[in-house]
């Protein structure tokens, strides 16, 4: 019964279902503002890291630790996950709910893969002598990259919740804004990673 209703709704959905209702427009705009605040949040962390990255003391420094091959794989995984989330939104706008779900699951899978690599990375650094309290560089590095990792983890849990909750509902005016804001969030953490890649890793090895 509920499914029939959902099917009917799906056929009559407007072209931009994420912004069709006032509630959807509020979510959409509010989320952009939230990302503005997040930008300052990460900006503060980047500033702190730049101020402290030479404070390595006797502990290992960026050039001793970072390996571009590992970071390159992580970057590719995260960039690809942004691409799959774009495919999901394209499917949403075409009214292909199944396509939306499949591409969002792909995004989640790539997010999990990224997290696995990050945990491996931190584990490696720890065993090379970089504890959280080893030096100011260590604290700043783990805090910046770890905060980004926590954002990825939150995104994975958030999108998974949406996918399970709405696995059978079809696309509605209620869940379209939810998927859309989740994708916005995912793009944002991807962009933050691009900056981490440049400021932390490239500058750490080459600068």
């Amino acid at each position: 019964m509920a499914e029939n209703e959902a099917m009917e709704q799906q056929q009559t959905l407007p072209p931009n279902p994420e912004k069709a209702t006032l509630e959807g427009r509020n979510k959409y705009l509010g989320f952009w503002f939230f990302l503005g605040g997040e930008t300052v949040l990460f900006g503060s962390l980047f500033g702190t890291y730049l101020g402290l990255r030479s404070g390595v003391l006797d502990g290992p420094g960026p050039a001793d630790l970072f390996h571009l091959d590992l970071v390159f794989i992580m970057t590719m995984i995260l960039l690809t996950s942004s691409l799959t989330s774009v495919f999901a939104v394209i499917n949403m706008k075409r009214g292909n709910y199944k396509g939306l779900l499949i591409w969002m699951w792909a995004t989640v899978a790539l997010g999990v893969a990224f997290l696995v690599f990050e945990i491996y990375e931190f584990y490696e650094y720890y065993h090379q002598g970089l504890g959280f309290s080893t030096s100011a560089f260590a604290s700043a590095f783990y805090t910046l990259v770890g905060t980004h990792g926590a954002h990825v983890l939150f995104g994975v849990l958030w999108i998974t919740t949406l996918l399970i909750r709405y696995r059978k509902s079809g696309l509605t005016l209620t869940n379209a804004p939810k998927f859309y804001t989740a994708v916005l969030y995912w793009h944002f953490i991807d962009v933050v990673w691009v900056f981490i890649f440049t400021v932390v890793y490239l500058l750490g090895i080459g600068g």
Binding site: G51, L52, S133
Partner: protein, 610 residues
């Protein structure tokens, strides 16, 4: 939930679960007033200690705790929530909306503030409050023994989260929820200034979030950001704190400017002079507010170039502020001024605030700042702008909007006594502190030596503080003795803006029909160009309302439980608390909540009664 069920909740459960912006506004006011009284008590205890040289009314350690908690409480737990109370109650009414954009988040913001504030104050009872000043400079704060600073870090983190949520909510409300015809340049100035203040909240608070996060990691998890012997840097804290801290000053003062810009035209019976100049001056102040944080750090040793840049940028803020002052004066010019209590506060504000502004330009002179730094001159300056600006604005706003919020008018005679006693007490307390500072009296020190010419002015200052206390008690009495002044509460001041078109007290749906706005000062326009009633922008019909929910309380409660877990490093408590918080968020996410409708017959009946 059905309409009948929504009507039948008991009172306490109703307030705990409400998502109505008016009830949340009133709760913000009540919570803010409680903390205002608490912060005032802390100030009085400090002033008693400083009444005589080498007095031993309180211990030096207690004095440190008092001065820290006074500043923290007044800024985060009194001034901002009180302003948020007015913003919550008034903004939707002024733009012709039925509620804010995110009623659920609105409730969440309030409960986060309240629980964060209570958490901070629990520290008094468990071994000492934070004692490193409200600015919590490292390494004093990162090395401070005991748990006081842990309460500071986590209490402000929780409360700050609530503020950030509130700021985003106001931004979206103002952009998306305006009634037909209410263009941006027809918005009342209070809504405009709250909009800019919300922008500042959005871009300033995350810097504090990170600062507090780093301090927490440093204190609880062995972080080394500020530990110089590990390659850390103490100046990072100062930058992060003031990148937040200076915009914070404008977050407080801009809504107060907005309140005065509502009161003065109403009681001068004239349109606000230079409306568009006022709007752009507000925007410029908001922008420049982010460019000047390092003027708090002139004596740190940033060098002459940085000091000069920040000095000039700071002085530049005097220009848009001056534009505002002159626009208020010209609003009064040639008006038929009514000296109501609300207007007295607005009139008292102008000279008081200008004095604070002048000492602000003096402090911005970076060379002279080396002399003023950390003396009572600074204390006098910021109390002139915060009390002379924000607090007078809050009291003026209280007298102005009280009939709309509570359905009765405050007694004018008592109100005028309150105003004059408060204004006198305020100038008595802080005017002399300029000179104490210039004579070299250090701020944040528990005592001073006799025989240096500091005695009489300190004594005068304390007497002024007593006078302010007496005045505030008169205000509290006024609240209780005036409850019968119920006549003409809907539009007592011959108002100009949309909030005065609603009945007092305001029905939960605000407007039976969304009004059509035809000009700036929409109601005034209808009074003189129309038939005295707002034109409706929609037919009478059922009104959709959001359901109340207990989840905001649970989310906030979970964070408090987790905070105690962090402070005392009890892992199960951390897991339990975060479990409650994220579990509640999970429930919120998977449970679709479509609200309920108030039937049109009910609204018609309200209209006939009203």
């Amino acid at each position: 939930m059905s309409y009948e069920k929504a009507q039948s909740k008991n009172v306490i459960w109703d307030w705990l679960t409400t998502v109505d912006h008016k009830k949340i506004g009133i709760m913000y006011l009540a919570g803010g007033a409680f903390f205002f009284a608490l912060g005032g008590l802390e100030a009085i205890l400090m002033r008693i200690q400083l009444m005589f040289p080498e007095f031993s009314f309180v211990q030096a350690q207690t004095f440190n705790e008092l001065l820290t908690m006074h500043g923290t409480t007044m800024i985060f737990l009194a001034a901002m929530p009180l302003l948020f109370g007015f913003m919550n109650f008034i903004i939707p009414l002024q733009i012709g909306a039925r509620d804010v954009a995110f009623p659920f988040l609105n409730a969440l913001g309030f409960w986060l503030f309240l629980f964060g504030g209570l958490l901070l104050n629990v520290s008094w009872f468990v071994g000492g409050a934070p004692d490193a000043g409200w600015t919590a400079y490292v390494p004093l704060s990162s090395e401070s023994p005991g748990h006081g600073l842990d309460y500071y870090v986590l209490g402000l983190q929780v409360g700050g989260l609530g503020t950030l949520i509130g700021g985003i909510n106001f931004l979206v409300t103002i952009i998306n929820m305006r009634a037909p015809g209410m263009s941006m340049m027809r918005m009342p100035l209070f809504t405009w200034s709250s909009f800019v203040a919300s922008m500042l909240i959005l871009f300033a608070f995350p810097a504090l979030t990170i600062g507090l996060l780093l301090l927490m990691l440093e204190r609880l998890f062995g972080g080394t950001f500020f530990a110089v012997d590990f390659g850390g840097n103490v100046i990072i804290w100062q930058h992060l704190f003031w990148i937040f801290g200076h915009p914070e000053v404008y977050i407080l003062i801009l809504p107060a400017f907005g309140i005065f810009s509502e009161i003065l035209p109403t009681f001068a019976k004239k349109r606000l002079f230079g409306y568009s100049a006022m709007v752009f001056a507000t925007l410029i102040i908001g922008f420049l507010g982010f460019m000047v944080w390092a003027h708090h750090m002139f004596t740190v040793g940033m060098g002459p170039v940085a000091n000069a840049i920040f000095a000039v940028a700071t002085m530049a803020i005097a220009v848009p502020t001056g534009i505002k002052i002159f626009n208020w004066l010209l609003t009064l010019w040639g008006g038929r001024i009514q000296f109501t209590t609300a207007n007295l506060f607005a009139l008292g504000f102008i000279p008081s605030f200008v004095m604070g502004g002048v000492t602000g330009v003096m402090l911005a002179t970076s060379a002279a700042n080396y002399q003023f730094h950390d003396t009572y001159f600074v204390v006098a300056h910021f109390h002139y702008v915060i009390i002379g600006g924000v607090v007078l604005g809050l009291f003026g706003g209280a007298f102005y909007w009280w009939p709309k919020m509570f359905g009765y008018r405050l007694n004018e005679t008592l109100g005028k006594w309150f105003f004059w006693l408060f204004l006198t007490g305020f100038h008595l307390t802080f005017f002399v502190q300029h000179f104490l500072g210039l004579m070299g009296m250090q701020r944040r020190v528990a005592s001073y030596l006799g025989g240096q010419g500091l005695e009489s002015m300190n004594f005068i200052s304390t007497m002024g503080a007593f006078l302010m206390t007496i005045a505030f008690i008169l205000f509290l009495i006024n609240i209780f003795v005036s409850t019968n002044n119920k006549e003409n509460a809907a539009d007592p001041w011959d108002g100009r803006t949309l909030e005065w078109t609603t009945p007092s007290p305001v029905p939960e749906y605000n407007f039976a029909q969304t009004p059509l706005v035809r000009d700036l000062d929409a109601y005034w326009y209808e009074k003189y160009e129309g038939d005295g009633k707002m034109k409706a922008a929609e037919p009478l019909g059922d009104i959709h309302m959001p359901n109340g929910t207990i989840l905001p309380v649970l989310i906030s409660l979970g964070l408090i439980i987790a905070s105690f877990g962090f402070i005392y490093m009890v892992i199960p408590l951390i897991i339990a608390g975060l479990g409650v918080t994220f579990g509640s968020m999970f429930v919120r996410s998977i449970k679709e909540d479509h609200g309920y409708h108030i039937p049109v017959e009910e609204i018609k009946r309200d209209k006939e009664e009203g």
